[in-house]
Structure formats: C-alpha cells, structure tokens
C-alpha cells in the first residue's frame, strides 16, 4: 500500500493569496493513500526541505508530492531533499499550483482552490505509480573529433588538446587554415591574417595531443554521447607523407596547370600542389582530376624528380575509424555566388570581382603581388565601386539574413585600396553600416576620414558597360537622386552562405540544420554552442555568419564544453528513458522507424523459455535514448514504456479527478 506525503507550499503570498492552502491540505488528507499532508510558507527553503526529510523518515512514506511552483523550477531541489532522506529521488511528483493555478486564477479563489486540489489529486495518483529510477551511467571515450580545420577548428582543437585530451582534427582540403588563410589583413586592427594564423597552424601540427588528418572527410558517425565511433575517408593523395620532405621539386616540374582555388582562380597551380606556401602539413597532393598520369597514364614527371620516391600513383582512398566521445563541427562557410545578379552583368563583365578575389589581389602573397588589377586588361583601377549586401538581405536573389561581416571587410577594403593604389578613389554603395563590435565604429569613421571614400546610400540598380568603363547606377537615397559612377572595377561584397554540404553532414551526424543550411544550436540564447544531440558542438560560421573574434570565442566555448563532458570517467544521464518488455514485443520494428535518435536497435531473443529458436525484438540503447516517448505511443502491443511517464502514471492522472 502506497504511503504518500503531500507538502503544500504557500510560496509566501504567491499561492496563499489566491488558493486556500489549508483547505487543500484538508482535502488531500481524505485520499486514502495520503498518510501525511502539511503546508509551509516556503517549501523550497531549508526548513521546508527539512520538513520533507523528517516526514519521510517518520511516516515511512513511499512517494512524495510537493504542491508548489512549476516542476521546471524546483523539481531538482525537491528530488535532492528526497535523496538526502534516503529515498529514491524519482518518487517525487510536483503539483504545479502556482503557475497553473494561483497566478492564473487570481480573481476566483474558490475555483483556484478547487483546481489546486485536483492538481494535487493528479500528482498523488501519479506518484503512486512512480517507480524507483536510477541515473544512467555511461562510460566516456575521452577523445574529441573536430571537423574542419579553419580558425574555428584550429582553436577548438588547440584548446581541447591543451587540456590533455586527445583530438582528431579532420580537414577536407590538403591544408588546414580555412578562409582566414586567404585573408590579407583583418579588421579592425589591420593585423596580418597570416601572421596571427600560421603560428597556430604550426602548433596544431606539432601538438602531441592532436592527430591531424588532412585531405579527409567524415563519412559515418555511430553511437551516442561519450561513445561515438567515427569513420573517416582519407582521400588518396598519391604522395607518401611519411617520406615526403616537402621540397617542392614535384610541383615545380609538373606541367599541368589548373586554376588556383587558394587565389580564387586568378592564377594557376599545378596538378600536384600544396595549396599555399605556409600550408600545414606542407606536403603536396595530386589532384586526381587533372593529373595526366592518373587520367591518361602519360607523364610521371613528379615521380621521376622525387628523390625520396614518395609519389605513388596506385594509392587508394582509405577508410579509418576512431573512437571518440564528442564532436566539434567547424565547417565554416561558403562565399555566395553572385550569378543571380544579372542586372549587374555578373559573369559578363570581367571587371566585376567578388570581395574574396579582391582580398587575394591585395594580399602580399597573392597572385598580383598585392596590387589590385582589372582582370580584363591588367590595368590598375582608379575608381573602384564597392557594393555591399550582394546576396545578403535579399530574399529575391540571395539570402534573407545580414551576413554580418561585409560592412567591416568592405571598410577594410577601402583602406587596403587606398594603401595599394594611392591615387584611387573608392565608392561604397551601402544600405546600412553595421559596425557593432569593439572598435568597429571607430574603424569605420577613421577609414571614411582617412581614405575620403564616397559613401552612397542605396542598392545598385544596374551596371552596364560604356567603353572600357563600368557604369554603376543606383539611387543615392540621401540626395534623393539617381547617380551613375564611372568605375574601373566593381567589388561585390558577396554574402556569407552555409557550406553547401552542411545538410549532408547534418544528416550524417544526426543533428538539425536551418533553412539556409546552417547547423542548428540547441537554444539560440542559452545553449548556442550545443546541438540538440548530446556531445555534438558547433563552432564558427557553420552555425551562422560571424567574424574572427566571435568564431574564436565560440571555438573556445566548445572546448570548454568538451572538457566538461570529459571531466569524469562516466557520464550521468537522466533515467527517463524507454524500456522494452520483450514478452509483449512483436518485433514489428515500427519504433525503430519513429525514433529520432536511432536509439532503438533489434535484438534476437529465444521464442520461448529455454527455446533455441530466436525471434527479433526491439532493444533500447539507454545511452542514446532522450526520452521523448515517440516509440511508446506508436507501440500497439504496449511493449514499450517511458520511465517517469509510464502509461499507468498518466492513466492515474487522467482518472484521478
């Protein structure tokens, strides 16, 4: 026979003013299972909790109901009180008589009191069906996987590794560095990107706790938090990294020329190449698509000139596996392709370039030795028009959101242009200047004053060609007049967009992504680095556009989360998970289909007692189950139940009033 204790809280005046608490206590005492009922001013206070502890011991109670505020508020507090009294904490039920009664029925004390009684009856009834539950302990593999080797991935990997936790860093391209390695100087301080990034890249390569796996992709993730198993495809590089010294003889002699991705295709690289001089690892790979030895079986020069014999044309893709406990996703962003802007003649006019192309041109190690030139005739441009929000804030042709960084990098570009071409003049077509950030507005002001750049408020309407000039027409809304700028070159501040492979990656990892393709955080404010899947975290632009300082902060936050996760040898997990009654399970596996986490697998059990014949039933993986109950509701045989929300508990609630 159940012995229930009921504790009704006044919550100062919050409950007592609108609910007749003593009457509620009297009413619940009439329920036959209730052996103890009392009231107190603040149940959550120390004396209040003391009352619960004492009553449990004195009255040999088997379950507890606290009628107070929302369980979302103090359920944990009261569970602890039960534990302290030696009782299983999950024998607690909270009747929410504050948020659900006293606060919302302030004009009708009688009704509020009656409702509070009903809520107590329901909680009592439910608590009678409560079972002892125990937190689930899951062992942890203390190794983290970082996907993506841009500044976000580099920072996260370094921070985790510095805490002496092994890190596997997987990068798709032949070198880490990401987009930041392509930048010239960075706003608002005009630090040289290479100067601050390359030391970190070298640190990654030499860190004893980091295993760098370049030129590779994650192809499968199995398991659950603390116990993931990842499969990684190492793409064939056709170069033996163990023996290669990175001397460069191969790519100097390679006869095949291919547009250079690192320089946005402005110049050419070879078919065997290192992406850029400071690449980490500084070992070349062969671009199988263009290498004539691999495509046509003709050439083989690189193998001839390599005195280490590191070239191996027969190399195959390789699949490797690693056991890991947590994942940091840092796949960065793509530059949005401005092709839909037909009114600007994108694709027709060579002298319209994107901001990243401009960045490469003005970069000291860039294809034009740091001087911007017109792609059409190689002349140095004098009048340069920068157009902001190309693709951003444009739901018609591009993306709805603000890309956040374009205002600042365009400001930077006007300075760089001014530095590199002294007699140039910059025109910026803008809609707003969004310079929210430390030192950002000051940077914009200084740039405007120092460079004398002409700012025109308006979206450009059309660009057309007149002679060898580009005529840029738009409204200057401040003047209220249409203006035309005769430009030598136009730079489009193209939007930041989600990596186009993000949806595939998200499906592979079992996390969600938004309509743009950015990976979704668990909570936009309070859990911005976690995903809804335990043990998977997000760093950098893969979650949303952000600048370098923000990216680095988020990466470090991810590292802190990973370190926290790995603080103990095991992880504690809520016991509210599904359980399967094998006897009733008919093995239809519909639950497998509806489980959003892949937490249900199949298991073969004997068909009867002692039988050798097997039948298939469902099996819950407690570590993965998040306790949603989808499987419970669709199980026709009622073979599944969800601890804490079992059918008897809910039925008791329904029929108790």
């Amino acid at each position: 026979m159940a012995r229930v204790g009921v504790f009704v809280c006044f919550c100062g005046a919050n409950i007592a003013d609108y609910v007749d608490v003593p009457q509620v206590v009297e009413e619940v005492k009439r329920i036959k299972e209730v052996k103890f009922a009392t009231e107190y001013k603040y149940m959550c206070s120390d004396p209040g909790q003391g009352m619960i502890r004492d009553a449990i011991v004195q009255n040999k109670l088997t379950s507890i109901v606290v009628a107070a505020c929302s369980p979302r508020m103090h359920e944990k507090t009261f569970r602890k009180a039960l534990s302290d009294a030696g009782m299983n904490p999950y024998l607690l039920e909270v009747a929410n008589i504050r948020e659900h009664s006293s606060w919302v029925h302030q004009k009708d004390k009688k009704a509020a009191t009656e409702k509070a009684m009903d809520l107590c009856r329901m909680a009592v009834a439910k608590s009678i069906a409560n079972e002892q539950l125990h937190e689930i302990s899951v062992p942890v593999t203390k190794r983290a996987l970082v996907i993506g080797g841009g500044i976000a991935g580099i920072q996260a990997a370094l921070d985790i590794a510095d805490a002496r936790i092994p890190v596997v860093l997987v990068e798709r391209s032949p070198s880490i560095g990401g987009k930041m390695a392509q930048l010239d100087e960075t706003f608002p301080t005009l630090d040289c990107a290479q100067c601050i990034l390359t030391p970190k890249m070298v640190d990654v390569a030499s860190h004893p706790y980091i295993e760098l796996i370049p030129y590779s992709e994650v192809i499968e993730l199995q398991g659950f938090v603390g116990n993931y198993k990842v499969r990684i495809k190492k793409k064939a590089s056709y170069v033996n990294f163990k023996t290669c010294t990175g001397c460069g003889a191969c790519w100097q002699k390679c006869p095949v020329k291919v547009p250079n991705e690192y320089n946005m295709g402005i110049d050419k690289r070879k078919a065997i190449y290192t992406p850029f001089p400071q690449a980490v690892p500084n070992k070349p790979v062969i671009d199988a698509e263009h290498c004539t030895m691999l495509t046509k079986g003709k050439c083989g020069i690189c193998a001839k000139v390599c005195d280490k014999g590191s070239i191996d044309y027969t190399m195959q893709d390789e699949i490797i596996e690693r056991e890991i406990g947590a994942v940091v996703v840092a796949t960065g962003y793509d530059m949005w392709d401005p092709k839909p802007y037909e009114e600007y003649g994108v694709g027709r006019f060579k002298d319209i370039i994107t901001s990243l192309e401009f960045e490469r041109m003005v970069s000291a190690n860039g294809p034009t030795n740091g001087v911007p030139i017109r792609p059409s005739d190689g002349k140095v441009p004098k009048n340069v028009v920068f157009i902001k929000c190309v693709g951003s804030r444009d739901e018609a042709k591009g993306i709805e959101y603000c890309s956040k960084i374009c205002c600042m990098y365009t400001t930077k570009h006007t300075i760089l242009l001014h530095h590199k071409v002294h007699d140039s003049h910059a025109y910026v077509f803008y809609m707003d200047i969004r310079a929210a950030g430390k030192g950002y507005e000051e940077f914009v002001k200084k740039a405007q004053v120092d460079t004398g750049t002409t700012y025109l408020r308006g979206r450009v309407s059309k660009i057309y060609k007149k002679g060898d000039k580009l005529m840029v027409r738009g409204e200057d809304a401040q003047l209220g007049q249409v203006v035309e700028v005769e430009a030598d070159m136009v730079v489009l501040a193209t939007a930041v967009s989600a990596p186009k492979d993000n949806p595939d990656l998200a499906r592979l990892l079992g996390i969600s992504y938004d309509k743009y393709g950015y990976l979704s955080e668990a909570h936009p404010k309070l859990r911005p680095v976690e995903t809804a899947k335990a043990g998977i975290f997000l760093a950098g632009c893969t979650q949303a556009p952000k600048d370098i300082p923000e990216t680095v902060s988020q990466a470090s936050a991810c590292a802190a989360k990973v370190c926290g996760l790995f603080a103990g040898d095991t992880m504690k997990k809520d016991p509210m998970v599904s359980t399967i009654n094998n006897e009733y399970c008919s093995g239809c596996q519909n639950c497998v289909k509806v489980c959003p986490y892949g937490a249900i697998v199949t298991d073969d059990v004997p068909i009867g007692h002692g039988s050798k014949e097997l039948r298939t039933v469902a099996k819950i993986n407690e570590g993965v189950c998040q306790g949603c109950g989808s499987c419970v509701a669709i199980c026709r045989s009622m073979a599944i139940n969800l601890a804490g929300f079992t059918d008897p508990q809910i039925i008791n609630e329904i029929v108790s009033i």
């Binding site: 037909e342 003649g345 057309y464 060609k465």
Partner: protein, 314 residues
C-alpha cells in the same frame, strides 16, 4: 503542319502591319498555320489597367474565352503589350479562381473561362516551340555581316513570375535566333530598359529621352540595326528617331527591324514583301552589310489604301 491560335492585336492592322505580314511569311516557311481568334477585341493595353482593375481583366478574358473555343492549346501573340495583358490575366485568373469567376460574369455571353489555352509571345513560340535549330535549318540567305542589337523591351520577359520566359535582365532568346539567321548579336546592355511605351502620344518628352538612351547604347555596342518583337518599341525607336536625333544633336541612323522581317529575309522571301519602305529610318545602310540582295524598292508599290470617310468627331 502545326496550328496556332493567333491574336494579332490592334496595331497589326495599323502601325505594325509589317510585323503581322512578315510573321505570316515566316510561319509559312516554318509550316505553321495561324487561326485568328474570331471576333477578337482590343486587350486594353495600355490604358485599361491604368484606369480600372476589372476592365483590365475583362478585355483580355473575352479573348481567352473565345480562344478556348478553338482546338489549339496555345495562343501566339505578336504584340508584346497584348501578350503581357493576356498573360497577366491568364496567370491571375488561374491563380485565383474566385476572381476568375467574378471577371467571367462580364463576358458570360461568350462562355465560361476554363484556363485551357496557354499564352505565348511569338518570340517565345519561336524559341520554345519551333526551336533555334529548326530556324537555322530554314535559312537560305545568311545575314552574316549584319550586327544587330536585340532589344526586348519591358514586356516580353517581365515580370518573371508571369512570363516565365528567358531572363528579365539579360535575355538571350532573340540573340540566339538572330545568330541562327547568320547575324551577329552585339553585347547590348539596354536589352530590357523601357522605351517609354504608352507615353508615345501623351508624354512624348519621356519617350524621346528613354528611347534616345537605348539608341545610344545600341550604337555604342556597334550594332548596325536594332531588332525588336514589339510594335510599341518599334514605333518609339523608329518613328521617333528623327525627333530624338534632333533633340540630342546626334545622328543615329539605326533602323529598327522586327525579328520576323529578318527571319523572312533570311528564309529567302523576296525583299519587296518585307515592307521595308514602311520604316521611317531607311534600312539600306544596315542591310548593305549582308552583301548583295535584291534591291530594296524605293517606292511603295501599292498606293495607300483608300481612307474611309470618317467625319464623325465627338
């Protein structure tokens, strides 16, 4: 032989008679038979939608309803203005059956609107239903040497969600057809800028300015001639050209062809059927670039049609 329902539009019997007649020559070569909509009426462009909403739908709807009585599923329209009004009406009616029902009450005598006939501009019909390659195959007199600026105007490709044809900013269908005829299409950035359209009569100043810019850009692109598929564009660019030249103090001397005139020419039709003398700006200079063709007649062969007495003036 293909069949096509044909809506000529008022100007086919007026200012753009040469468009209409050369279109018929071209379709003869392409083995397409035209079926005029019996008893068609003016589509209302460009005034109906300016002044009232319902009439702007009702006028085209009557034609659509009449067209549905014919067997063909496609209606071809020569005039770009008519095409746009008809297409807008069709799209809006198909999207909003309630509105269709309401507008239908005004022409209920003609029948019920069903939405079974698709509306295409002749350019679209050439490009999508005939195909550039078929057109290339019919060419007997290549136009090689002639550089043309293809001018589409506002209405053939815009608004995009209505026309669903080619690009609203830099269309290429007419360029491709011209290239198929052997001509060279220049890179012309004013393909879809407005010529001033209906302001031709009521607000001439605007037309002179806008059409003037188009002529200037066409000249800039190196074109010998402009090619259009819209009577309004043609009259603004051709008929107003002397005025524009006078106003700007520039001599353009750039003839404005209908695409069908060039097609008919390339298909080997005798020059005297192409109504070149109707042009205000002489075409000889431009056509000289394609080498020797039959001499362009200097005079209109037939006298002007007798003018019917019309004394009544309100």
């Amino acid at each position: 032989m293909k069949k096509l329902t044909y809506f000529p539009g008022c100007s086919a019997h007026g200012t753009s008679e040469e468009f209409d007649s050369t279109l018929k020559l071209v379709l003869k070569t392409l083995d397409v038979e035209l079926e005029d909509i019996p008893d068609w009426n003016c589509c209302g462009a460009t005034s109906a939608h300016v002044m009232t909403e319902n009439l702007a739908y009702a006028l085209p709807m009557r034609n659509l309803v009449l067209a549905e009585k014919l067997e063909n599923t496609t209606m071809g329209i020569a005039c770009a203005s008519c095409y746009q009004r008809m297409k807008v009406t069709k799209v809006h009616m198909d999207e909003n059956p309630e509105l269709a029902q309401r507008i239908n009450t005004t022409v209920v005598e003609e029948g019920t609107y069903k939405g079974t006939v698709d509306v295409k501009s002749m350019l679209q019909y050439f490009y999508e239903d005939i195909g550039v390659e078929t057109i290339r195959g019919k060419v007997t007199k290549s136009l090689a040497g002639l550089k043309v600026a293809c001018y589409y105007g506002c209405l053939l490709t815009r608004p995009k969600n209505i026309t669903k044809f080619d690009s609203p900013e830099y269309p290429v269908s007419m360029d491709q057809i011209c290239e198929a005829l052997g001509a060279t299409a220049t890179e012309f950035d004013y393909k879809t800028e407005c010529c001033g359209a209906s302001f031709s009569i009521s607000n001439t100043e605007v037309v002179l300015n806008l059409s003037g810019q188009i002529l200037a850009m066409a000249k800039e692109s190196g074109a010998h001639a402009i090619v259009v598929a819209c009577p309004l564009c043609q009259s603004n660019l051709d008929m107003r050209q002397p005025d524009i030249e006078k106003q700007q103090g520039v001599k353009y001397d750039i003839p404005v062809f209908y695409i069908t005139q060039l097609m008919a020419l390339a298909f080997g039709n005798p020059v005297d059927q192409l109504k070149f003398p109707k042009h205000i700006v002489p075409v000889e200079g431009a056509l000289a670039n394609i080498g020797k063709i039959d001499p362009v007649p200097q005079k209109v062969k037939k006298p002007i049609k007798a003018v019917e007495a019309e004394s009544e003036v309100e």
